[in-house]
Symmetry: C2
Subunit: 200 residues, 2 copies
């Protein structure tokens, strides 16, 4: 059996929050769920068309106003499909954690590289934690007005727990690894490593 297409339900779920265009959907993902879910245009648009064909969503073209765009709404059938999926026990996340893999193979490289990776991760986690805590404060301030905020809060709390765990682990691991002598490696400073930089 092929595995289930989760993009499908992510799209349905987003439309349950409010009617949207594909473009707005991508924007909403970027600014509110990106830390636990991602979709690209290459998935969103074909999926919206497919869902429209199955009558799970309804697209309304808006020629007036600004651009030509299609705003999608969940149909009753779409609500039902989403509802059924939400009741199914979620599958465990399948990790591929490159940072841990590199540390696991640490014997094959230098302490400097490993420490650099950890310091980068530490800085990234600290930044994310701050962001999430900002979101948390914002959500808590308007819990009564927006019922959705309760669920957004649960989600962002996971991000906060996760980043705090990451920070603790990074610090602990930096202690466990031998310091690099002869280089200044102040904790928290932007790390540089000896290897090549990666192209993006």
């Amino acid at each position: 059996m092929p595995r289930e297409n989760k993009t499908r339900y992510a799209v349905l779920g987003l439309l349950s929050l409010k009617p949207m265009t594909g473009y707005e959907m991508k924007g909403l993902i970027a600014q509110s769920v990106a830390y636990f879910w991602n979709e690209s245009f290459g998935q969103i648009y074909p999926m919206l068309n497919q869902l429209a064909q199955e009558k799970l969503v309804e697209g309304i073209e808006e020629t007036e106003g600004r651009h030509n765009r299609t705003r999608y709404t969940l149909t009753e059938k779409g609500h039902q499909v989403l509802h059924d999926w939400l009741a199914i026990t979620p599958e465990a996340v399948s990790f591929r954690d490159e940072l841990v893999l590199k540390l696991f193979f640490g014997q094959e490289t230098t302490s400097a590289s490993l420490r650099s990776h950890l310091e980068n991760a530490l800085a990234a986690s600290r930044a994310k934690l701050e962001t999430y805590q900002g979101i948390e404060a914002h959500l808590r301030g308007r819990l009564d007005a927006h019922p959705q905020h309760k669920f957004s809060l649960i989600a962002v709390r996971k991000g906060i727990h996760w980043e705090q765990a990451m920070i603790a682990w990074c610090l602990e691991s930096l202690t466990a690894l031998p310091p690099v002598i002869g280089q200044k490696n102040t904790p928290g400073s932007p790390a540089k490593h000896s290897g090549k930089t990666q192209r993006k």
Copy 2:
């Protein structure tokens, strides 16, 4: 540009620990790195052949003994390629956390479903935590004899931090969600489905 094939480096890294057959490799993954990395036979065997062609690994057929099998060893070139990769700053993990997604769309389902998902996750995390703590104790007992254990320990500690964070988050979220008795979800939330919600 296509994204990098990480299976490649995972295979090289495993071979840096000790020479192995493809079959042994899968077994080692299952029992020691599965909580942060996974590979299937469908990737391992083709990759081993490819790496052998590139002279990054060397396969030695063992016809004597038991079965016909090929045990692979890292070549000098393979060591070099692995070493270079280890120095590159790791990419951030791209999550797709189905549990959080379902909680985020919690308005579309019942409190009972959500609580059930959280309790399943909680039980799974507690079990994993115990397993990892067993591994941790084992590793700490032989740190001097096996240099690799130091890095295995760093890896398993991440698993421990992660599961502890999961457990804390699950408990916290269970407190935040209304208990099942009343079956009401959010006070003031609009009733959605006219039909009976079917239990799973």
